[in-house]
Amino acid sequence: MASSSPPPAQAPVLSPPNPPRPQQLPQPLPVAAVKSEVPVAEPRDPPASVSSIPLEPSPAAVAASYTITIPSCSGWFSWDQIHDTERRVLSEFFDGKSASKNPGVYKYYRDSIIRRFRGNPSRKITFTDARRGLVGDVGSIRRVFDFLEEWGLINYTPLAKPSAKKGEMGDDSEKKETPRRICSHCKSSCNMACFTTDKADIILCARCFVRGDYRPGLSSTDFKRVDITEETKADWTDKETIHLLEAILQYGDDWKKVAEHVGTKSEIDCVARFIKLPFGEQFLGPEEVGEYGKPHQKNDKVVTVPEGENVPEQSLSKRMRLTPLADASNPIMAQVAFLSAMVGSDVAKAVAQAAISSLHKVDIAGGISASDDRLQSAASNGAKEEEAVAASNGQTSSDVLNEAVAEAQSQLKKEEQDVEQYLSDVVQVQMKEIQDKIVHFEELELLLEKERLQLRHMKDLLFADQLAIMQHKMQLLSKGNEKGEKVKQTNHVP
């Protein structure tokens, strides 16, 4: 079941109380106005100063004309129509699979629930209230209810603090930082990580990315991985990261002060974030990481982000030692040059080779351009390093091929060995089987032999008996004859 979640509530927008008029809320313009205005404005500005749209309705104060607010992300809602979002999320009503689940029924549920809520907007409507007043099976009603609640069409109360809202809006302007994105391919929300490409303004969830059906113009390398779980938890904006690094530079180990400087993050969060920033390793063990770390980095983020994050840190700490580079026109090269200045030219060359071999193409310009403003400088060695990097480009592809061939061969050998091993195992098993059979047959033979002996014995006995009987008979016969003769004799005699 695909469920999409809206981006976090942006400026809530007024909508007049709900006569069943189609209220195409006039958001597009005012929202834009609000959005662009507020991040620039001082955070202390009272909300009333923001054009004609108060950010906080006051339902209690004005009894007659209470206001219903819904988030501007749900501005598509209209009483008379069913929007694509609804069709998409609650597809069960629109796919025609069941006769009684049709758009009319959906509209009935939706309108009833929203009307019910708006009849008493200060009180959140519960699912049980809703389903008790609606005819239908509670499963579908629940799904409609959840959908409406998620999109703020019911039970939505705008946030009280203007600063919280501004923080969110500041986040929203940066597409990267927004948690909970929708995959443009399968229309499901991405939770763990999503892959974005700036070439085409597409977001893919992990599954679609792995499956590989992008548009023909894109390849897997064009995508940048954005970890959402981390972001949703930590939600670190670039500004906060800069603050963090500045604070660390200034206060060192005093995490309390660092947290204060950052402002919106606790100590633990700051420490965790600092640890997660991977740039430290590069400078602890540059040889190792440079050569072996990079080829295995599928995670482009590590390649790109540290370059963005490193620069402020490094520039801050090494500003003394390095002369700022005049050339910031090619930001990637500038950063590469900058980093390579840190580690030395050999390591930088190795790093560059490895990075290029794992990326195939270096197209990080789009991602890094956002951090342009944070670039402080590039070393003067930059030009030299650029040449070195450019030169190494040509060699890398043949190296890569050779490597691949060698690896393939070794794998092949291994497989052959494995196959031989398996064959010998199989043969062994067969032999064991045969051996067992032989043993079995021998036993059988033994048994048979015994039986034969027994039979012979019995035959002998039988023979003996027969003999005995014959003898007996003979004896009797001969006795009989004798007796007969005697009788004859006696008969004769007289």
Partner: protein, 258 residues
């Protein structure tokens, strides 16, 4: 062996609710620690089992019931669903075609009484739509009436469907718990309407005037005192019935062991 004349049943089919959607009516009537919870709704048996638990938790949370209700509600729903599923493999023979259904409900302050004919063999029938139209046509203010009507119709249809299963005919022992105190379920599905007579040469489709009053829906709105009185009486009845049931059970167990 089977004579094929128009009134007889068609080839037996697998058990299902004779409606467009194969939904199950669920009725809950729990009494835990003196707190009574009654509810009735329609459930889609194809929903995953996890829905049952979620629904129970949500209901308890929404109505602020004590948490012991969660397991009880979930179990009750599961039992009724299991019963429904146990019928599913079997065949049912639908003999009757048109049956009268009765509605006799009290929902909060509204009393509804109605009777109408329903075609059992129409597998596209929709009790939900009937209930919605009913409430709209009769301008019923209380939104809780609709679901109650739909559930009542479904329960009667369910009863008819289960009775038409041949193997189930023997095991018709004391079906408790299916009837709430509010409604009188129509279990006499036998008094079908004989279509032949009705639409034959002598009969006419138009209902006789003297029968109109039988089929006219009645909607009454009660005052709060009347509601209170009725509630109290039902409570009393329910308690007495429960006591009787308990006695009967203990009687059975005692003498079945002897």
């Amino acid at each position: 062996m089977r004579s094929f004349h128009p009134g007889a049943s068609k080839a037996p089919m697998k058990f299902r609710m004779p409606t467009a959607e194969n939904f199950v009516p669920i009725r809950l009537d729990l009494d835990i620690d003196g707190q009574r919870f009654k509810d009735a709704f329609t459930w889609n048996p194809n929903d995953p089992d996890s829905e049952v638990n979620n629904f129970a938790k949500r209901t308890v949370k929404d109505l602020k019931l004590p948490p012991t209700f969660v397991t009880q509600i979930a179990q009750s729903i599961q039992t009724q669903l299991a019963e429904f599923h146990s019928y599913e493999g079997q065949e049912m023979h639908i003999k009757e075609k048109i049956v009268p259904l009765k509605i006799d409900l009290r929902v909060n302050n509204t009393v509804i009484r109605d009777q109408f004919l329903w075609d059992i063999s129409n597998l596209e029938s929709d009790p939900e739509e009937f209930a919605r139209t009913f409430c709209k046509d009769l301008d019923i203010g209380d939104p809780e009436v609709g679901p109650a009507i739909a559930v009542s119709i479904r329960e009667q249809l369910y009863e008819i469907a289960t009775q038409s299963i041949s193997s189930a005919r023997e095991t018709r022992v004391g079906k408790k718990g299916r009837r709430g105190a509010d409604i009188v379920a129509n279990s006499k599905a036998g008094n079908t309407v004989d279509l032949g007579k009705l639409f034959g040469s002598k009969g006419s489709v138009i209902r006789k005037r003297k029968e109109w009053y039988l089929y006219e829906p009645i909607v009454d709105i009660l005052s709060n005192e009347e509601v209170g009185a009725l509630d109290a009486r039902e409570e009393l009845n329910a308690r007495l019935k429960r006591k009787l049931d308990e006695k009967e059970e203990s009687f059975q167990t005692r003498y079945s062991h002897g």
